[in-house]
Amino acid sequence: MATENEAQGPNASDYIKHHLVHFNSSGHKQEKLVDFHIINYDTVFYSASVGLIAVLLMAIAARKATSGVPGRFQSMVEMLFEMVADQAKSLIHSRESRKFVAPLGLTVFMWILFMNAMDFLPVDLLPRIWSDLVGPVFGIDPHHAYQRVVPTADLNGTLGMSIGVLLVTLYYNVKIKGLGGFAHELIAAPFGDKWFLAPFNFALTMIEFLAKTVSHGMRLFGNMFAGELIFMLIALLGAAWTGPNAGSIALWLAGVVAGSAWAIFHIMVILLQAFIFMMLTLVYVGQAHEGH
């Protein structure tokens, strides 16, 4: 996983810090915690290209599907499809909404799965290609060529997706209940339909929407960020190479073992997180269909 990197930067802390900077439109590290002027090009690029791969893969599966004996690939996609369709059926009772939401769930699942799977590339592979081969072509100083390859380990990516889900739920809230019905629910929902309770109802509903959206995005981000960071820390074991002596070789071997073990465990994490993101998307859209 992470053992391809020998001569790294000056020390461990610098190495990690370098790897936690995005390739963004400002050209250096983002200074403020929130800054809407900066676009993270790497997140945009990798999420878009990985999404394209996922969509193409599913399109190929759909194009090549036969009604005869299915091959391995087709069976796998069919199982996936059925899994999402079953969950959608049990969570969203409107048949018409399912026509849009179930494919949305499948897309979200595949997309997040593929974005998360970028973690399995060696941590230094793409950043190194960028800083040593591709970056200089565009005139970017190799020492300030930053790259982060896991789009879901960027809070902007995951919160963007969860806000997308929020917009879908708002759309279905308005569509199912009507503008008036939704507005009435906003001020009447948890405590009851009394005029003096309206401000509390409204405040609580807003908190509910905010908490749902933030935790939806933060959950994926936290998992993937922590996973990515642990891959980096494991990479440091190999980065401590000082020459062919016993200590370095032992550390390198430890890096191989730890990297493999963590990668195997991480397969479960990325599947689970993609699944949970999809399930919660369906649950939230399903909630939008239920009146209080």
Binding site: I16, K17, L20, L33, Q87, S215, M218, R219, F221, G222, N223, F225, A226, L229, L272, Q273, F275, I276, M279
Partner: protein, 83 residues
């Protein structure tokens, strides 16, 4: 400055440690209940398994958000500007 860094390091340790305790107790409790339930009604095992994984992810979430925040403090450290 060094004082701030030390306090942030302690805070990160506490965030991760306490979060881990909570998440582990939660997952253990739920896993135990799942085993009990599937021993009592083995035919429900598959249906319960999916629900258990979703809930495990939900229980993990608060802890992993904490880990994410702690790692953010450790490496980006927004308090260093103030301190």
């Amino acid at each position: 400055m060094a004082n701030v860094m030390g306090l942030v390091a302690l805070a990160c340790g506490i965030i991760i440690g306490l979060g881990a305790i909570g998440a582990c107790i939660g997952v253990a409790w739920m896993g135990g209940k799942y085993l009990e339930a599937s021993a009592r009604q083995p035919e429900l095992m598959n249906a319960l398994q999916i629900k258990m994984f979703v809930l495990a992810g939900l229980i993990d979430a608060a802890y992993l958000i904490g880990v994410g925040m702690a790692l953010l403090f450790a490496f980006v450290n927004p308090f260093a500007v103030v301190g």
